[in-house]
């Protein structure tokens, strides 16, 4: 066992020595012009590809996942709350489209700048649906946050996981939940199809033959989310999150309101997930209850972990890598690879295995993630004493304003 460990360590060091160092211009004085240049490239990118190419489609999905990963990174990375129920916000975002941008709620007849001519259902403009989704998901985020306030670490994971499952089960059974007027909450496993595509006054309604407008739309959302994530990280709120993550007792003693600060992280993370859910639902054209499974939460968590917890560029990188592997490289590029070796299966049959294997490799070689945050990098490099808190068990301490019991010190 020790030999194996030593061997792994050796390989790791050899590999680390060969890995490219982050170029000097990242974070330096070229970061602003660099970002502008990168943005310009991203804007013209779809013009280089066929307007309905598979690569463009994969890129659109990847960008939607970037938004998800950024949101979850706020909850897990910044605030240190291990949220395994993120799928709930994807579901609620998607159902916001089902409710407010399709024929589904057929008892109503509302249309606001939707570009639709349907005589029943609620049809709101994409931006309005987005706002509705942000409101719904941030409230849901706070609801999921409340029972976890007094918990830490793994216990938060269990509660949030259950919450994700509750939402998942609820949307499946939603076809039996009547909300009056002959309407049900969801369509269950039948799914709600014919969702509105985004419509904007000059651009018209987005079609599935031309993917470029979709790309630009999600690019705008993603850039906005990147911006918000950076601003939050370097703010009073961001500092408070890190402080709570580091030492809850010390943080509340320094005047950080635990409940408000934690709920804010949950709500903002959830809102990102909701926005991405709205986009993905409209892009797919349907909302099906069965797509909201636990594995989706894990999918997004692995993006954040792969990139490096708490790191914004890391979350982006992790989301892009895993999405491209899952939605482009495996199904489109290498799918028939086994056949060239005379094997009778498609690579997609192995996709979960492949991407699990890649994750294991990365975690062994680079546990801090591909693009770690500066703080964490120092921590993991052993520059920081591992544990500096041992007394006053936090669970016994009244940090949130509830009851406290057991244990004593002093």
């Amino acid at each position: 066992m020790n030999e194996l460990k030593a061997q792994l360590q050796e390989w790791r060091e050899a590999l680390l020595g060969r890995m490219p160092k982050a170029p000097g211009w990242i974070g330096g004085r070229w970061s602003r012009p660099g970002a502008v240049l990168a943005l310009a490239l991203l804007i013209v990118l779809p013009l280089l590809f066929n307007e309905s190419s598979g690569f463009l489609q994969a890129t659109i999905i990847a960008l939607a996942y970037v938004v998800m990963a950024l949101g979850l990174n706020i909850v897990i990375g910044f605030a240190g709350l291990l949220d395994l129920g993120y799928v709930a916000f994807y579901a609620l975002g998607a159902y916001a489209v089902g409710w407010f941008a399709s024929d589904f709620l057929s008892g109503e007849n509302i249309s606001v700048l939707s570009g639709q001519h349907s005589t029943f259902g609620i049809h709101l403009n994409f931006i309005l649906v987005l706002i509705c989704a942000v409101i719904i998901t941030s409230i849901a985020g706070m609801i999921i946050g409340l029972p976890t306030l007094r918990l830490r670490g793994d216990y938060i994971a269990i509660v949030t996981l259950a919450f994700g499952e509750i939402i998942g089960t609820m949307v499946i059974n939603g076809s039996n939940i009547s909300i009056g007027g002959g309407m049900t909450l969801t369509a269950g496993n039948l799914g709600i199809s014919s969702l509105d595509a985004p419509y904007f006054p000059v651009a018209g309604t987005f079609g599935l033959l031309n993917l470029r407008p979709w790309y630009w739309l999600i690019l705008v959302i993603a850039v906005m989310c990147v911006f918000i994530a950076y601003r939050l990280r370097d703010s009073r709120l961001g500092r408070a999150w890190i402080a709570l993550r580091e030492d809850e007792v010390a943080a509340v003693s320094m005047g950080i309101p635990l409940v408000k600060t934690k709920l804010m992280a949950y709500a903002i993370g959830a809102a990102f997930g909701g926005m991405s859910g709205v986009f993905l639902a409209e892009f797919n054209g349907t909302v099906n209850a069965s797509q909201f499974s636990f594995s989706f939460s894990i999918f997004v968590v692995s993006m954040v972990v792969l990139g490096g917890l708490g790191s914004i560029p890391g979350a982006i990188l992790g989301a892009l890598l895993i999405s491209y592997i899952n939605y482009y490289l495996i199904p489109d590029v290498f799918n028939t690879l086994p056949h060239t070796f005379g094997l009778n299966f498609d690579l997609t049959d192995l996709s979960i295995g492949i991407y699990g294997f890649l994750l294991v490799i990365v975690m062994v070689l680079r546990p801090q993630g591909l693009w770690p945050e500066k703080r964490r990098k120092r921590e993991l490099a052993g520059l920081v004493a591992p544990e500096m808190t041992e007394l006053a068990e936090p669970s016994q301490v009244n940090v949130g304003g509830g009851l406290d019991q057991g244990g004593m010190s002093g």
């Binding site: 009073r236 993550r245 580091e246 030492d247 005047g255 920081v384 006053a392 301490v397 009244n398 002093g410």
Partner: protein, 278 residues
């Protein structure tokens, strides 16, 4: 709230202008009485100490004063407001700041950032301010950072250390950062939990002078838990002695030093090694 229930030699208790009054507070964990009815007045601009053997309930008392524990019974008032049921962050905002017995700095932050956290309750920017960062938020951030650096200089941290990660710094520097972090919240009352732990006599002496400076320059009231008798006797205007969760004696240093109960419960146990008690 200065109903004093102590024996006759209570020090001129009637006109005391207390910043914090502790009235018969108790904390019971399950069946274990950690603190059983302690009363204490902390006058403004004063340095008072709580001493007692290990396990006497001093830190539990501290945790009640800062809101980390809610007292099982009794009342705590701060600056005229009842705070015994308040959340810790509310109490901090009212003007109570503390340090910890075992240093609790935020390891993944620089010294300056740690002190900026201490300023949290005096800042205004919220979600919108953080995202849109209007001029007043930029100014607030800049001012808070400047203030944090000033405080670090005030407590004697070398300027080069201000941007280092807090855990890379020496033990003494970490203690200094903790005090700076507490001062950042503009407290009226500072609670120090064994600030000289791990310090050599020279450092302890320097800290003693620093406590006087804090009291006189910042008009602070300071409540000290301390084992170093030289420091306690040297700085305290009033000392409360606890043992087994109850107050066994109180008074001026000289009175406490002469009190046979104290010698028996506390100083007598120290195998005479520590210092010039009695």
């Amino acid at each position: 709230m200065s109903a004093i229930d102590t024996p006759a030699p209570a020090p001129a208790s009637a006109p005391v202008d207390a910043i914090m009054s502790v009235d018969n507070v108790a904390k019971i964990f399950g069946g274990l009485t950690a603190v059983g009815g302690v009363s204490l007045d902390i006058p403004r601009r004063s340095i008072v100490s709580v001493i007692g053997p290990n396990g006497a309930g001093k830190t539990t008392l501290f945790n009640m004063l800062t809101g980390l524990y809610k007292p099982t019974s009794g009342r705590i008032t701060f600056d005229g407001k009842l705070v015994s049921r308040s959340r810790p962050d509310k109490i901090t905002k009212l003007g109570v700041a503390r340090t910890f017995q075992n240093i609790r700095l935020f390891g993944a932050m620089t010294a300056t950032e740690n002190v900026m956290i201490g300023r949290h309750s005096r800042m205004r920017s919220g979600l919108g301010g953080s995202i849109f960062r209007p001029p007043w938020v930029r100014r607030e951030e800049r001012d808070v950072e400047t203030r944090a650096r000033e405080l670090l200089a005030y407590v004697g941290l070398s300027s080069g250390a201000a941007d280092r990660m807090s855990t890379e710094l020496s033990y003494g520097d970490q203690r200094r950062i903790e005090i700076a972090r507490a001062l950042a919240s503009e407290p009226k009352l500072l609670l120090l939990d064994e600030p000289t732990a791990g310090m050599n006599p020279q450092e302890s002496e320097a800290l003693k002078q620093f406590l006087f400076k804090l009291r006189d320059e910042l008009d602070l009231a300071i409540l000290l838990i301390e084992h170093d008798m030289k420091v306690v006797m040297g700085v305290s205007e009033h000392i409360t002695v606890m043992d087994h969760g109850v107050k066994i004696a109180e008074g001026a240093p000289a009175e406490v030093r002469a009190n046979p109960l104290v010698i028996e419960a506390y100083l007598g146990k120290q195998d005479g090694g520590t210092d010039g008690a009695a």
